[in-house]
Symmetry: C2
Subunit: 206 residues, 2 copies
């Protein structure tokens, strides 16, 4: 059965993204959070950024996350950041639903990624995603605000936190503005590597 | 060699203690964080709060943490809370150094716990603790502010976060007011149970 999930890297002090206005400092913070991923063989192959790379627990997790994903849903802010940042062959290779107020025709990229723009909210995007998931899972891609919206709406079945042993001191917090009384979690798995720890949680309703 | 460490339970959203002024709500939050520990066989025996209890990963961690500890250092706030809360046979069974401005004679409890009151700061407390550690490790017991002071001073060798799959929404944050640039972490171990995940970090200096 199709599951709705998200998967993010989080610093030990709870941040899933940097906020520093200085571009160089921003990149430094971003690398602290995401650097582990750039070293993985599957990630490098998928983005065509180079041969080689590590195999092991981290690579397994990156690969499994990619392979289980039949559709991605993302917010406007993540799309706007990625539109100029992703390579022409965007790394999704599936349909992607972008929740936005802006109306726009679908945007097809080489390699099987097609972006659809949804103007009537997160539940509508999820419904449309279910129709094309084709037995695989639906990933809520981000950003943080979109993850929180889906969590608070009770629409997320499970999520993975890749806990990175760094302290950012400031940034975008994942677990904020959450309706905590409504969310029951079960810690269903933990996989540890020398770089990070991948924690999996199943969501119930409180 | 004697190591300086701390070990705390933290909610997935980063809190190590509740702040709710309502006593009932406070206890409810506290139980969400600490409830797993009360179920462990070793913890129950040590506090004489009942027969039975679980054995397994969580019990192993509680037992190992107790057994490695030759001395505990704590702040005034933790001591004040515990002075009335601990049973007459306080659960440490070792020397305990309390960092406080208040001068006071040592306080001996049945079962081997002796509290010493240190008025000249955290480094002095640590020095005195080293003198009596007797080959075992020194635990910084808390509260949160005391942990941060030792971390910021570069005096902690390693720590364990028991990550509890709950969201408190508010409370005392562990990783706040930290001199993040000075702290390098390596995630050295993770042990998972159906209740919680025990994450171990080794501290270097950045």
């Amino acid at each position: 059965m199709t599951k709705v999930f998200f998967s993010v890297a989080m610093s030990l002090d709870g941040f899933v993204g940097p906020v520093d206005p200085d571009r160089e400092k921003w990149m430094e913070q971003w690398m602290k959070l995401q650097g582990w991923q750039g070293e993985q063989k599957f990630f490098r192959e998928n983005l065509h950024i180079g041969e080689g790379g590590e195999t092991g627990v981290d690579n397994d997790v990156v690969k499994e996350t990619f392979e289980r994903t039949g559709v991605t849903i993302m917010g406007k802010r993540m799309f706007d950041g990625g539109e100029t940042g992703w390579p022409e062959e965007a790394p999704f290779h599936t349909p992607v639903f972008v929740v936005t107020h802006r109306e726009r025709e679908l945007w097809e990229r080489p390699g099987g990624t097609t972006f659809y723009f949804v103007n009537d909210g997160i539940e509508s995007a999820l419904k449309q995603a279910r129709d094309v998931a084709d037995g695989r899972d639906i990933r809520i891609g981000g950003g943080g605000q979109t993850l929180i919206q889906y969590l608070n709406a009770g629409l997320v079945d499970e999520f993975t936190i890749t806990l990175v042993p760094v302290l950012l001191g400031e940034g975008i917090r994942l677990f904020e503005r959450l309706d905590t009384d409504r969310i029951d979690l079960v810690g269903s798995d933990a996989r540890h590597s020398p770089r990070v720890t991948h924690l999996k949680y199943t969501v119930g309703s409180g």
